[in-house]
Point group: C2
Chain length 212, copies 2
Amino acid sequence: MCYLCAMQQYPSKLLEDAVNEMSSLPGIGKKTALRLVLHLLKRDSFEVERFSASFVKLRNEMHYCVHCHNLSDTEVCEICKDKSRDGTLVCVVEDIRDVMAIENTRQFRGLYHVLGGIISPMDGTGPADLEIESLINRVREGEIEEVIMALSSTMEGDTTNFYIYRKLKDTKVKVSTLARGVSVGDELEYADEVTLGRSILHRTPFEQTLQR
Amino acid sequence: MCYLCAMQQYPSKLLEDAVNEMSSLPGIGKKTALRLVLHLLKRDSFEVERFSASFVKLRNEMHYCVHCHNLSDTEVCEICKDKSRDGTLVCVVEDIRDVMAIENTRQFRGLYHVLGGIISPMDGTGPADLEIESLINRVREGEIEEVIMALSSTMEGDTTNFYIYRKLKDTKVKVSTLARGVSVGDELEYADEVTLGRSILHRTPFEQTLQR
């Protein structure tokens, strides 16, 4: 680091460009970027080309499913294509990582709806930036019986939940949210009060816990 | 994560490829890779192309300086080209990050020699994999009067130091190493015994400390 201008001095412009591009990724600083770029430099040329091509290909050829807006290689995603899944049940999530997380539980056999974010005035994300209109339209088509809101338990998540709930009030669809409660494996004394309070309020009949 | 095969299920092959490429970088796991790739997906197409191109360009167009093997945009690097620098003094370092670190101190006006690694039998790196032969040849040309060994203070660094020292013994070049001692700003009680011992053994005349 130069003491005068607080700028790192690179021996080469090409290196500097590559480091700047790498450090434009979230959570990657200049030092980490330099380490990663020097690692790439040690690889074979065709490997670096494959590395780089994968991102361009992803960016240019990726589809968003026309029904649920999940990432997909085709117009309609594998989940929406799957006829064995329950089309009456739709789980509303923030992004595709949530789809992957829920899919990995193997507890849900319905379809999804990916909003592509949550309402967050601080970040300048309003309802119009999200796939809320298309959710309402999907519900209006009539096949869906229940919408499960699976958003983060934050202020923004709750705002989005409430916004969508109000939009869906006129339709006859049932709206539910994920159960809030003490995590499996958690010790009670370390659970926060809000979670513990909710878990008492929404207590589960003991017979239901025997089902799994 | 799938419970059966410990494999993450991605909704798209393109995404999976991009995540695999990203997580091939050292210190980037699958979860971080997915986060970074999804970030790239949100950017403009031309930005992703510029991002990717920078690495291919770096890999294919980067030169190693013919004299010191430092990274460079040209055949001979900026440091070796600089006529104001002292050509009788050569600092031997492991990789280009060390060149940048020493350059940033602004205390060294000689030239460098980048080995490209250190002797490490554990990693399968022998003397023949490093730029040691070219260092010997540079010394044999006769202009160099002192070689400063600036390698890490590890077993591998010491081995490499000793190997090069033996190779240079027959020439009339002076070989020195970086001073080992208590770091500037360190409290004495927290310094380890070896460092403290060395700092007593190689104590500096007080007048020399007044020079800066």
